[in-house]
């Protein structure tokens, strides 16, 4: 992870660490914080705790997003302090709805400059975000909303498994992992398990990201904690609850960053610091059966 971040994530980049609740790569976010990246434009649908931590650590100049909360719990307080003018540094924001963000990644993946969608009429979002525009349909004459393509410099995708060439398989919630990866100039895949290519090739319909668009593969077990990986470990809902008082208090938040990010060299050390994780969160077994690819 250290080498991948050093090589592919640069100051000033637009960085995407995607994953909708599922497969959020905290390991990558922590390493970016440790390496002290600055002036990043962070983009994802739900900033979640990971971007709250990166904002608190001073990595971000700008945030592009569609829902900034701690799901089912409350606020992202580092984000709120920055936006409400109470933080250490200003934070520029560019705001869409989920559909808008999904469409921006879809346009980016297809290398089209925009994506049309039927949306935003009657809302105040286009008033505060001039990048939400309209286009006239050449068949019906009706006006449709548009959003511009999002083509980040680097996207980091967490996944269950990949082979050495980066052919990556995901099951469970897919979010916009595929679109974000295809939209990006550089792609880092972080996996729970590196597998032989025969595993991938035995079930090619399970592959979501092809190796040809992947620049680096990092093996990092528990790399998504406190987010989760279907079939590997459950979401650490207790930690999401615990984040509320931590993030509410800038001092507590600074101590959290010190203890769990700056003071640990890597993910393995982070996991060792929390010895109960496996016992508490390791996934149960609900195996699917195989299908026949013969002919």
């Amino acid at each position: 992870m250290r080498d991948a971040v050093a090589r592919f994530v640069h100051d000033g980049d637009t960085v995407v660490i995607e994953g909708f609740t599922h497969l959020i790569c905290f390991a990558a976010g922590h390493e970016i914080i440790r390496q002290g990246r600055r002036n990043l434009t962070l983009a994802r649908l739900t900033p979640d705790l990971i971007y709250d931590q990166m904002i608190a650590a001073g990595c971000a100049r700008k945030l592009t997003f569609s829902w900034a909360g701690n799901p089912g719990v409350g606020s992202l307080h580092a984000f709120r302090r920055a936006v409400e003018g109470k933080g250490a540094a200003p934070l520029e924001i560019e705001e869409y709805s989920h559909f808008g963000m999904v469409a921006r990644f879809s346009a980016g993946a297809a290398r089209l400059p925009f994506w049309p969608l039927r949306n935003y009429m009657g809302t105040d979002l286009p008033r505060v975000n001039p990048r939400i525009r309209t286009v006239t349909c050449p068949y019906t004459g009706e006006q449709l909303a548009t959003v511009p393509a999002l083509n980040p410099e680097v996207t980091i995708v967490h996944a269950q498994r990949a082979d050495a060439e980066g052919n990556t398989q995901i099951w469970g919630l897919l979010g916009v992992q595929k679109e974000a990866a295809f939209a990006s100039q550089r792609v880092i895949v972080v996996v729970e398990e590196l597998v032989d290519q025969s595993v991938i090739r035995s079930d090619p319909n399970r592959t979501v990201i092809p190796g040809m668009i992947v620049h680096g593969v990092v093996v990092e077990p528990w790399g998504a904690h406190p987010s989760y990986v279907q079939g590997y470990y459950d979401r650490d809902n207790d930690f999401y609850l615990a984040w509320e008082p931590i993030s509410r208090d800038p001092d507590k938040l600074a101590r959290y960053l010190d203890e769990f990010i700056y003071a640990v060299p890597d993910r393995a050390a982070y996991v060792r610091k929390q010895p109960g994780l496996a016992a508490r969160l390791r996934a149960g077994e609900r195996f699917s059966s195989g299908v026949n690819y013969g002919f």
């Binding site: 569609s66 799901p71 606020s75 409400e84 999904v102 039927r118 009657g122 919630l173």
Partner: protein, 246 residues
Amino acid sequence: MAAVAARELRDGEVVFVGIGLPNLACNLARRTHAPRLVLIYESGAIGAVPERLPVSIGDPALVTGSSMVCGMADVFQSILQSGRIEVGFLGGAQVDRYGNINTTVVGSYERPAVRLPGSGGAAEIAIHARRLLIVSKLSLRAFPERVDFITSPGQRHDGVPRSRLGMPGAGPVKVITDKAILEADEATGEMVLAALYPRVDDADVRREVGWSLRRRPRLGRVEPPSATEVRLLREVLDPRRLYLKG
């Protein structure tokens, strides 16, 4: 509110489920009068049958045993935008006279007094769901005459009806609160008082609404939760009281 909201769902309908109370309401309906309800979560789980109460809209329990998992581009384009969602559920920090919802900011957008999470999927759900149910506790702060920011559009915007703005869905048809049910008036688009909970009167509701609330000529009575509904909610669906307070 969960039990009242559940009764608004018909068997076999396709529902876009939000987290919290809407999720409780949908799972209650599925276990009572609507066993064939199709639950769709914006995270991509279709036909979910969660074995535990999901804490978030992306909970792994929504995936295991569901009938389909798809990417979010499919959810928003091919399922929601294509008009296949029959019922949407939204809450909101503010709900106004025309059912416009604010989940973005209290105060001005540029210098907010309180920064809220933003739209998520709410804007497009309010635009595309064939009908929308709003669930929100009644209070003067939550029901202003005009919201500070329109995140999700209601029946009218600056006096223009939603159909004239090109919105496919019918918009908010009901607002389910903890004291009363409001309904959209067909002619004016205003939210008007339609039914009262037991031991609540007209004035109790008006006191917590920031506009001059009109009422249906004849008000309905909201039935209290049945013993079955209470048991399912408290013992099966939310035994740890994550969403049920009191």
